[in-house]
Amino acid sequence: MHLRIVTLLAIAIALRSAAAEPQGPNATSKTPREATPDQAPGGTREATPPVTPPVAPDEPAERAHEAPPPVTPRATRDATLGSLFRRPFPSSRLFAMPLADVVGAYMLSLSGDGSLLQKPGALTSAGVLAVGFGDIAQLEYRHTEAIGLTGLNAPVPAVGVQLKLPIPEHSGIPAVGIAFRLGVPRSETLDGTTINETVTDLYLVGRLRFASVPWLTMHGGTRISSAKAVPGEALPAEQKTLWLPTAGYEVTMNPTAKIVGEIALAPQFQYAPATELGPAMLAIGHGVLGRLGMRWRVLPAIILDGSLGYQIEDAAPTAGFDAVVSWDIRLGAEVFVPWGALACRAAGVFCD
């Protein structure tokens, strides 16, 4: 009788032990890298709290885990082409605002957006080309936000380098990035006068996440901008240093889509030709640019952007929030190319 009771107890303990390990022994070996879909390949975000979408209370539990976070495959010669493009690719921007993150080592990011609606008949566009180095830096060629002579958001080109400070990340402790962008002159012509515009920036940006609200990411920073306008005629050149705050947020709505908002001050070039009332005037001010939209990771290596934008110019303060006819819709995309992994597969270099 005692033997039977002991046997039954042993069986019960064994069953409970088996049930306590639902995913098998490998479940405990899951690395922090696998916890979030947006982690840097270099493993610089191990402490990042997992980003999970807000789930309705009555939503089935399995819906909250529709897409398990991808695991970064190793860059080896026998890796399949498809697997190289299925790794998590972190982005280094919101819409126009740079983030504290970099694209990662041996990675190339190509992105751009455009609007046909902002100025009838004119396609305004902007782009970024970034190459990551060592998980903490990236070289880039990009268009930075600026408002041109015609009042349009007409980004100016710049080349630069962005660094991510290697600070261990914890909930409530911001990640910090520094970017320097050397402005490339851009010409604008208004009323027959050509003006060369240059904007050189130093960016300080931070990213903040809290473990208690894993679906929310906040960004903020300051852009110290040196703007210069050189007219082609007798007018003297104008140069001004501007301190321009910028802020943004991301709300993770589901495993592939985020709602993103950003607002920033941007340098604005103003020119008034000579009239009977007075001489020509050249000035540099600032305007407010705001965007609200979404970023959809349609494939791991491709992100589609869509947003609506709002602009206030200090040159035309009469157009306020209610002037929705001057708002615009911008569409864009970002494509990631793991060139290091591709080179490894093709020639055996830059392998993990």
Binding site: P54, A56, P57, D58, E59, P60, E62, R63, R86, L116, L117, P120, G121, M253, N254, T256, A257, K258, I259, L292, G293, M294, R295, W296, R297, V298, L299, P300, L304, G306, S307, L308, A319, G320, D322, A323, V324, V325, W327, D328, I329, L331
Partner: protein, 348 residues
């Protein structure tokens, strides 16, 4: 005889016991498929456009010998589909008849609505769902009207091309009973017509809520804007004509309330009613060069197939003047497609 009854009873009980010991057959319909029920897994009622049940559920059945259900022999060399099964949730349409709803197209779903009316209007509205949180569309509309003087009869300006972007949250997403909410923006490309440059724009915030399985309500507010500028050439030295805008006439001329109602008395038929607004330009009016007209529409939507709906009804372009002679009968065809979503899923 008693022995025979005992044998029969024992046989029946034994067979029943064996049958109960077998595992339950798997549900052939994929998760999230709404067929066979009136709503999705979240409890939302299926309003319109319930997708068809995917065919081929028996193709993967290995047969009764291997625990399957049918006798159809499985071909071990049959080509395997590389496409992932797409979660074909029922589509809540982004428009009632002329007004937007608080619902968005699912990610990767294509939508095309093409209409004709007795006023000579031809319109097309094409959209794509983005990430289950937004949608983008390009459309032509015949709702914008023009007239030279206040005594003239308004005429449609068409084609009037607009682009739209809407962002929102699904119904029951944040909490049970939460209505679907979208923030939408629609803006036209500049239109040159009769020597005038015009543009319109509309910012909307709308909420939509299902009340039971067969009724839905929509309510929202719109902030309209429009601009009008003459193309007339002016003598040298003079300023070009001033641009007139709706926002230049105050916020009360821009803000309007709109709404709609949907009822589904039959499984595939819906009755739709909505009240919206549309801008009208009057080129030589002294005042009210740009004004908004109330527009009432009612009609029926019928689901021909999961990808095809036809709609027909009546639209009164200006219910303010009570002139039914201006009323238009319209017919429109709406196509929806999961092809892009399927392609994206297969690439994943």
């Amino acid at each position: 005889m008693k022995q025979m009854n005992g044998v029969i009873l024992a046989t029946v009980l034994g067979t029943t016991a064996i049958a109960r010991a077998q595992p339950a057959p798997a549900d052939p319909s994929p998760p999230g498929n709404s067929t066979g029920s009136a709503g999705d897994s979240a409890g939302n009622p299926a309003p319109t456009g319930s997708p068809a049940q995917p065919a081929g559920s028996t193709a993967s059945d290995p047969g009764p010998l291997l625990g399957g259900q049918t006798d159809a022999p499985a071909d071990p060399y049959a080509p395997k589909s590389h496409r992932r099964e797409v979660d074909r949730k029922p589509i809540n349409f982004p428009e009632v008849l002329t007004t937007p709803t608080g619902w968005l197209l699912p990610a990767g779903v294509l939508y095309s609505n093409n209409a004709l009316d007795t006023g000579g209007g031809v319109t097309s509205d094409n959209r794509v769902g983005l990430g289950d949180v937004a949608e983008f569309g390009i459309a032509t509309t015949d709702q914008v009207r023009e007239r030279t003087t206040s005594q003239d009869k308004p005429e449609q300006i068409q084609p009037y091309v607009t682009a739209s972007f809407r962002l929102g949250i699904d119904e029951n997403r944040l909490f049970p009973g939460e209505p679907g909410v979208t923030l939408g923006f629609r803006k036209s490309f500049e239109r040159n017509h009769h020597g005038q440059k015009t543009r319109i724009a509309e910012l909307t915030l709308v909420a939509s809520k299902h009340l039971g399985d067969r009724v839905a309500l929509h309510a929202g507010g719109a902030l309209w804007d429009a601009s009008l500028q003459s193309n007339a050439t002016v003598p040298g030295g003079q300023d070009p004509p001033q641009e007139i805008t709706l926002h230049g006439h105050g916020l009360k001329n821009q803000v309007r309330v709109f709404g709609g109602f949907e009822a589904r008395p039959l499984a595939k038929s819906e009755i739709l009613i909505d009240l919206g607004w549309a801008p009208e330009f009057c080129y030589q009016c002294d005042t009210d060069k740009i004004r908004l007209r109330p527009e009432l529409s009612w009609g029926v939507r019928y689901e021909v197939a999961s990808f095809l709906h036809i709609e027909s009804g009546v639209r009164v372009p200006d219910i303010g003047n009570s002139n039914l002679l201006d009323a238009q009968i319209f017919g429109q065809v709406t196509f929806t497609s999961f092809a892009l979503k399927s392609a994206v899923e297969s690439l994943k």
